[in-house]
């Protein structure tokens, strides 16, 4: 039995509504089940509830930022892959340690889904969809 995107629940954490909704929409269009949270403090209980497979989180957020969230998730269940995402071109030296990938905003939907598919252990180019080849901009 092969796993599909719909078997995975992705939690998208970002304080910026537009970015969060767009990323969430990108993943749901790939077939993933998605959840949303606007900062680390909201996201952590959801993760702790145990239904989340992958976390995609912005780095800089008021309250608990992405790096703190990454650490908190590592403390709870280090098997949950965390993808960091930021509008800045890079994040702090130690910040990304423990993250499976880094997405720089803005990114192509194909690139985002490829990173998440990779994090889920799915093949990067799912059949039946035209997306998946990131166009560099």
């Amino acid at each position: 039995m092969t796993l599909n995107a719909k078997d995975f629940c992705i939690l998208v954490v970002d304080d910026d509504e537009m970015a969060r909704e767009t990323v969430s929409e990108t993943l749901s269009r790939e077939g993933f089940r998605t959840l949303e949270a606007d900062d680390g403090n909201t996201a952590l209980p959801i993760v702790q509830a145990g239904s989340v497979d992958v976390v995609v989180t912005d780095v800089q957020m008021p309250g608990m930022g992405g790096v703190e969230l990454l650490a908190a998730i590592g403390n709870h269940d280090s098997s949950i892959p965390v993808v960091l995402m930021s509008g800045y071109s890079s994040i702090g030296k130690s910040g990304s340690a423990g993250a499976v990938a880094f997405i720089r905003k803005p990114s192509e939907p194909g690139e985002i889904s490829a990173v998440v598919r990779n994090a889920c252990g799915l093949s990067t180019s799912p059949p039946g969809t035209g997306a998946g080849d990131p166009q560099s901009s």
């Binding site: 910026d16 970015a19 767009t22 929409e25 990108t26 803005p106 939907p109 035209g130 901009s137």
Partner: protein, 572 residues
């Protein structure tokens, strides 16, 4: 540069007053010397003249009187002889004889007396002024004594004749008169008188010559001494003049040099340092011109220093001008970091949603149910693009505008626009941004500059907090002024630092993190607006910066004194 010279500098070291006093003393001394010599010379001449008048002339007169007396006596003697013939019978002849004899004797007595007086006077004088009169006076004395002697002999002869005549011995009297002795006595007196007259004449002539010579030599001596004194005075006056005018001339030349801009021009100090009290702190000179030259040098030194300082500050100002621009660009750069992030979120919306639209409309099986989402995607793209536009515009407005024109503007709106640019940065360091903005706070100000001040203050507050804490931005109208307060809950500013925070280039941040211009530029903007920027802070109690601007509805202009919030009185 000080030249040290030998003892010839003694005169140089004198003060001008002393030089003039010396000149006056020299002149006075010359005058006294000249007068002294003149007095001595006149004295010498005068003595000759005194001798001439006081001794020679009486001597000549005496000789004359003696000669006249003698001549008269000869006549009287002849009368007596003649009367003696008929004296026995003729009472008239007796009377005539007696008269002649009496007159003779009276003349003889007077003449002898006079001669004696003169002999003693001459002797006295000779003792006193032998050196002047010399040998010739003794000859006069000698001849005078000869006259006296011969006169005594003549008188004795006459007396004998008179006695013989009285006894009636006329013939014997005639014999005595004609005797060789009698003739010799009479001739001797005549000769002595002649000799005496000749001697006196000779002596008075030589006296006059001596007086003339003395006068001549006195004149010559006085001329020589005068010439010497005049020459000496002229030389000293020249020296004095040069010693005064030369340094003044040099001073003038050096001043001209200085005037031309050669600030390195200096006076050469000729005079030696007479004393250096306090070991070389300040050299002391005696003469005024050297003191003047020294002061002049110090002035030139001051000018040079001032010029260098001016050049330095000019360079610093130029640098500061660049740095002010740089500080603005640094602020833009700092903002840009936050703004880029701010921009990237809507860009994510644009790219993502545009791709969704693209994918949906390219599906061969695209049917109305599948295209249901399209309007939502399009709306999101437009929304995101608009957000991007606003952000970019805000940044451009801030970075591009550089005018200083002031206009009536809504302070609260201006502050809000500034906060839009920094809010992200503040939020991202988990600092709470509290806004207490009053509506309708109108002011006369330059929007960009006010924004720059607010951005500076908020960024400074954020830096002070580091992480967490809260920044409160408050706008209000207060007694005709428009006020912005930016407070933070940070550590506060120590007292010693508070006094310096508005200084240009003063920064407590690490090198490369701050230009040290933010607050000084902000302060300048506040003052330029006729307002004020003050800080209220205490360690541990946070910091509040109060920007006061003239209200748009008040006529409060710069230069008036109003009590401003923050306990400060506006000065400009």
């Amino acid at each position: 540069m000080r030249r040290f010279r030998g003892p010839s500098l003694l005169l140089r070291d004198l003060k001008i007053g002393e030089k003039i006093q010396l000149f006056a003393a020299l002149s006075l001394f010359s005058f006294v010397l000249l007068t002294g010599i003149a007095v001595l010379q006149i004295n010498a001449v005068g003595r000759e003249v005194v001798l001439l008048g006081g001794r020679d002339i009486p001597l000549i007169k005496l000789a004359g009187r003696v000669a006249r007396s003698h001549a008269r006596q000869e006549v009287l003697l002849q009368h007596a002889m003649d009367a003696g013939e008929g004296m026995r019978n003729d009472p008239a002849a007796r009377r005539s004889f007696a008269a002649a004899r009496d007159e003779f004797l009276e003349l003889g007595r007077l003449t002898s007396q006079e001669l004696q007086t003169h002999t003693s006077v001459t002797l006295d004088e000779r003792g006193a002024s032998d050196d002047v009169l010399g040998a010739s006076s003794s000859e006069v004395d000698y001849s005078l004594r000869g006259v006296e002697r011969w006169y005594a002999a003549y008188s004795f002869l006459a007396e004998r004749i008179f006695n013989l005549l009285l006894l009636g011995k006329q013939s014997e009297a005639g014999e005595v008169l004609q005797s060789p002795k009698g003739v010799a006595d009479r001739r001797g007196l005549s000769r002595a008188l002649h000799r005496f007259l000749a001697e006196v004449d000779q002596f008075s002539k030589s006296s006059a010559e001596r007086a003339e010579r003395a006068e001549g030599s006195a004149l010559l001596g006085m001329l020589i001494v005068s010439a010497l004194m005049v020459g000496l005075s002229v030389i000293y006056a020249l020296f004095l003049g040069r010693s005064i005018t030369r340094p003044i001339e040099r001073l003038r030349n050096v001043s001209v040099e200085l005037g031309r801009g050669n600030l390195a021009a200096r006076m050469t100090l000729d005079s030696r340092v007479t004393s250096s009290e306090g070991d070389g702190h300040e050299p002391h000179f005696r003469d005024e011109l050297t003191i003047l030259a020294h002061s002049f040098n110090r002035m030139a030194e001051g000018l040079l220093k001032t010029q260098q300082e001016l050049q330095g500050s000019q360079a610093r100002l130029l640098q500061a001008g660049k740095l002010v621009q740089a500080s603005k660009l640094a602020a833009v750069g700092e903002l840009a970091g936050g703004v880029a992030h701010e921009l990237n979120n809507p860009l994510q919306g644009v790219i993502g949603n545009a791709r969704f639209i693209e994918q949906d409309i390219q599906k061969p099986t695209a049917l109305p149910p599948e295209l249901e989402q399209l309007p939502k995607y399009v709306q999101r793209v437009v929304q995101s693009a608009e957000r991007c536009r606003d952000i970019v515009q805000g940044l451009l407005t801030f970075s591009r505008q550089s005018g200083t024109d002031k206009a009536r503007l809504d302070l609260t709106q201006t502050v809000r626009a500034a906060l839009d640019l920094v809010a992200t940065k503040v939020r991202h360091q988990n600092t709470e941004l509290r806004l207490e903005l009053s509506p309708d706070v109108m002011c006369m100000a330059n929007s960009t500059q006010v924004q720059q001040v607010v951005i500076n203050l908020v960024i400074n507050a954020a830096h002070a907090l580091g992480k967490g804490g809260a920044i409160t931005v408050r706008t209000e109208s207060l007694s005709g002024h428009a006020i912005v307060r930016v407070s933070d809950t940070g550590p506060g500013i120590p007292d010693d630092v508070q006094g310096r925070i508005f200084e240009p280039f003063f920064t407590t941040k690490k090198i490369g993190e701050g230009t040290g211009l933010g607050l000084s530029v902000s302060y300048g903007i506040a003052v330029d607006h006729g307002g004020r920027l003050v800080v209220e802070s205490a360690p541990g109690e946070g910091t509040t910066f109060v920007l006061t601007l003239p209200g748009a509805d008040s006529d409060t202009g710069p230069g008036e004194t109003h009590q401003l919030p923050g306990g400060q009185v506006s000065e400009t």
